[in-house]
């Protein structure tokens, strides 16, 4: 039993969400002392699978065996007791509280019936920090005083304290520098030597090849590949992740690109977020900014529209230099930005459709100081019909719509704004296929009318289907450009990982 023992054996696990089967009869095995990478595009089902493992759903189907025993993981506590430790992407530490208390929350050692044993607590904290290589960190200082990397390691130490046999890490390196990643990896290797089974989720191909022993690839809720890392290569993994080339869903777009430059960035820099960015956008073009999450793609957009500052470089709009102090200026000049998170950044959910659709054009349609939404009811109706918002009722509160229709309202808002250049940040995240199609058609039509668009998306087929050109962004730098003919899911994914023919650094 010893060598072949499976720490985790998930058999035919499925999880149904309303309208979609997020995880479809997946088998997933992890051996003891193995680092098992789990890969897949956004929406492939890997995080849902891990949430099943963490006990966040009580309605999954299938069987889960841990160390050979069948377990029911219907709640987070059951999962914890079964020996599963989850390191989440967002830190769950209280920043103002000391490290040792964060580590020992809910189980501080007691000296007697009344008091906690601070000495012992600190010693316990020191011991668990030792395991993650933070032996000389003072556990009495607060989390806010240590670096992001250390905080991440403290988080791991906290999870390790519950003595899990399986450790799940979701993009643990997403906010670390390269030196820090090395540190993190040596810790993970040490844990492997201790016999722990580790599931490692990452988008970074390099990391997988550096650290993982085995890799499982998921696509559309299914397991599509499983191989030893030593027996596979990047091309093969990318192929598995993207599957057969898909075209039918995205009809061929008419080429409307002209040579007229609408927007040009020169040496555009916000220190610490993106450096020396240069690109041009042409009239009638859809330009994709391709990069992994955290590569600085959203930050470029935010700095361009004046929400964040930029420190160096210039932006030219129709040949004229622009420097926006706030987003309002950008809109009146002709640059719009469709935010990525419709619920937090995009829409006033508690207000009716008409308020939302007209929210960017209040100044444009106001007469002196005065303004009324009622003056523009026709415009609202036109735009929500154009976007096929259902039900097409401008007085309905936005939070009573489905996600897809909310996203359509958000698009209608920017169609009503009638700007020259539209930056779309994840325009179809979490919406159904119908809404997606409608939104894509709207983007195409918009560009065909002589506008231009920049698209930022983690949905690779979307970029393949829409973009006329892609610039590749990696860790805050533009490292290459892919012409329309070259845009495939393969090339995008390779380029985002700093590989392939289109990368010139």
């Amino acid at each position: 039993m010893a060598e072949t023992a499976l720490a985790l054996d998930m058999r035919q696990v499925s999880k149904q969400f309303p309208g979609t089967l997020a995880v479809d009869r997946v088998d997933f095995q992890v051996k003891k002392g193995e680092i098992h990478a789990l890969m897949g595009e956004n929406g492939a089902g890997k995080s849902t699978l891990m949430k099943v493992l963490a006990g966040l759903f009580n309605d999954y189907t299938g069987e889960i065996y841990i160390n050979g025993e069948k377990k029911e993981l219907r709640s987070p506590i059951m999962a914890k007791e079964a020996g599963i430790g989850m390191v989440y992407q967002e830190l769950s530490l209280a920043r103002k509280i000391s490290i040792y208390e964060n580590l020992l929350v809910g189980r501080l050692p007691k000296k007697n019936a009344l008091f906690i044993d601070r000495k012992k607590a600190i010693q316990m904290a020191k011991d668990s920090l030792e395991r993650v290589g933070l032996g000389n960190l003072d556990p009495t200082i607060s989390v806010s005083e240590i670096s992001q990397c250390d905080a991440q390691l403290v988080e791991i130490a906290k999870v390790l304290d519950s003595h899990p046999s399986i450790l799940v890490m979701d993009e643990p390196t997403s906010s670390l520098s390269s030196e820090e990643v090395e540190r993190m990896f040596s810790i993970i290797r040490k844990l492997r030597e201790e016999g722990m089974a580790i599931v490692y989720i990452s988008h970074h191909m390099q990391e997988i090849f550096e650290i993982a022993d085995r890799v499982t690839v998921m696509r559309d809720g299914r397991r599509v590949g499983n191989a030893l890392v030593s027996e596979t290569n990047e091309e093969e993994l990318v192929q598995q992740m993207v599957g057969e080339p898909v075209k039918k869903f995205y009809g061929e777009s008419a080429n409307t690109v002209t040579s007229e430059v609408v927007l040009k960035l020169e040496d555009f820099t916000r220190w610490g977020f993106f450096h020396h960015v240069n690109f041009e956008l042409h009239k009638g073009e859809i330009l994709a900014i391709e990069g992994l999450a955290g590569s600085g793609r959203t930050e470029i957009a935010r700095a361009l529209i004046g929400v964040d500052e930029h420190h160096l470089g210039k932006a030219y709009f129709h040949g004229k230099e622009v420097n926006f102090k706030n987003f309002g200026e950008a809109i009146s000049t002709g640059i719009g930005y469709v935010t990525e998170d419709r619920k937090i950044l995009g829409l006033a959910l508690s207000q009716p459709v008409s308020d939302n659709v007209l929210s960017c054009v209040i100044d444009r349609y106001s007469k002196g100081m005065f303004y009324s939404n009622a003056w523009n009811n026709a415009l609202v109706d036109e735009k929500i019909n154009e976007m096929s918002v259902y039900p097409a009722d401008r007085t309905r509160l936005v939070n009573s719509f489905s996600g897809g229709n909310q996203q359509k309202v958000l698009m209608a808002k920017w169609m009503a704004a009638d700007v020259d250049v539209l930056i779309l940040d994840e325009p179809t995240r979490g919406v159904d296929i119908n809404a997606k199609q409608i939104i894509h058609n709207a983007i195409r039509q918009y560009v065909a009318q002589g506008h231009a668009a920049i698209i930022i998306s983690s949905d690779l087929p979307e970029i393949v289907g829409l973009a006329d050109r892609a610039v590749v962004l990696r860790e805050g730098h533009i490292i290459g450009e892919i012409p329309k003919e070259g845009i495939t899911e393969n090339s995008l994914l390779m380029a985002a990982n700093g590989k392939g023919e289109y990368v010139n650094v």
Binding site: A94, F115, S175, G296
Partner: protein
């Protein structure tokens, strides 16, 4: 052990002590300041505020505001003196009745916040007015005096002969220390910080956050009720409009809490720091004899503290999410240039 670094963060973390030291140095230049009589009078007269400030601090550490502290203490004083003079109960029973009232008020506050999900500021604002109304119902004649010289003298006497402090002040000091120990050395106490710092983390670790929230309100109200009752005995009178002239006790409590370094969004702070600040404020009041000047000086210090924290948070938000790799690159580029 730990190396002390003198920098902005260090100064800010210890601002309560720095404030006290500065005030004490100013006191040296004030004539007739460091006399035993003066110290005893200053500390005695401000003891009530210490109770209130500490109550306010506990709630704020848990991420809430308790605006009832002032009326809770006044009401307690009225009940204590009232039951003594009307029902002729012994002092101990009277104090217990007053404290019981505190427990009830704290429970109601806590339940409003945790069960009805009304934000603490609003809930206690409403409770504050209910208490005020009840106070007038209980003592419509605006004052209820029940002077008992023995008890009064006991609280006014020096308990320890060579220390220039009244017994009342020393009792308060003991209470503060107990609360401090509770918050610092017990599991429940540490959980108070945890729910103030990150209620989700606390919840994930199985901390019963609503129970602890209620507990903080109860402790706060009990401290205020006890302090108020003793203050009534100490000063021999309970005035219904106590603190409505001059700077209100609630305001002083909040000021001491904020200057003492308790985070206004919860999760950090210490009753001891609040206590130190309160002593400093008491000395300050001893130095600036005029009420007007007191209010101005105290308010300026407080507004500076709030502004400092606001601006620091504003600065932090500007560099939120910075990429370490790129920051290093920036430093390299800057080094070359």
């Amino acid at each position: 052990m730990k190396k002390m670094k003198i920098n902005g963060a260090f100064l800010n973390a210890n601002r309560a002590w720095i404030f006290l030291i500065v005030v004490m140095i100013i006191g040296v230049f004030t004539p007739k300041f460091y006399t035993a009589y003066n110290i005893k009078a200053i500390t005695g007269n401000n003891t009530l505020f210490i109770w209130l400030a500490c109550g306010f601090t506990i709630c704020m550490i848990a991420g809430n505001m308790d605006l009832t502290v002032q009326y809770c203490s006044t009401f307690a004083a009225l009940i204590c003196l009232g039951t003594h003079s009307r029902q002729k109960w012994p002092w101990l029973i009277c104090i217990l009745v007053a404290v019981l009232m505190g427990v009830i008020v704290g429970m109601i506050n806590g339940l409003l916040v945790t069960k009805l999900k009304i934000s603490a500021f609003i809930a206690t604002l409403g409770m504050q007015f209910i208490l005020r109304g009840l106070m007038y119902l209980y003592a419509p004649d605006e004052q209820s005096i029940g002077r008992d010289m023995a008890a009064n003298e006991f609280l006014n006497d020096k308990l320890i002969k060579f220390l220039p402090f009244s017994a009342y002040f020393l009792i308060c000091l003991i209470a503060v220390l107990i609360v401090w120990i509770f918050l610092r050395w017990t599991r429940t106490g540490r959980n108070v910080y945890m729910i103030g710092g990150n209620i989700e983390t606390a919840w994930l670790a199985g901390v019963k956050s609503s129970r602890i929230t209620i507990l903080t309100f109860v402790i706060s109200s009990v401290l205020c009720a006890l302090g108020g009752a003793l203050n009534g005995i100490f000063s021999g009178a309970a005035n219904i409009s106590m603190g409505e002239k001059g700077i209100s006790p609630l305001m002083i409590g909040m000021t001491a809490t904020i200057i003492g370094g308790t985070d206004t969004s919860g999760g950090s702070g210490s009753v001891l720091n609040t206590f130190i600040t309160m002593i400093a404020l008491a000395f300050l009041k001893g130095i600036f004899k005029k009420t007007e000047m007191q209010v101005l000086v105290i308010s300026i210090i407080m507004i500076l503290c709030i502004a400092y924290e606001t601006i620091a948070a504003f600065r932090r938000s500007k560099i939120l999410g910075i990429r370490p790799n790129l920051r290093n690159e920036y430093l390299r580029e800057k080094g070359k240039a």
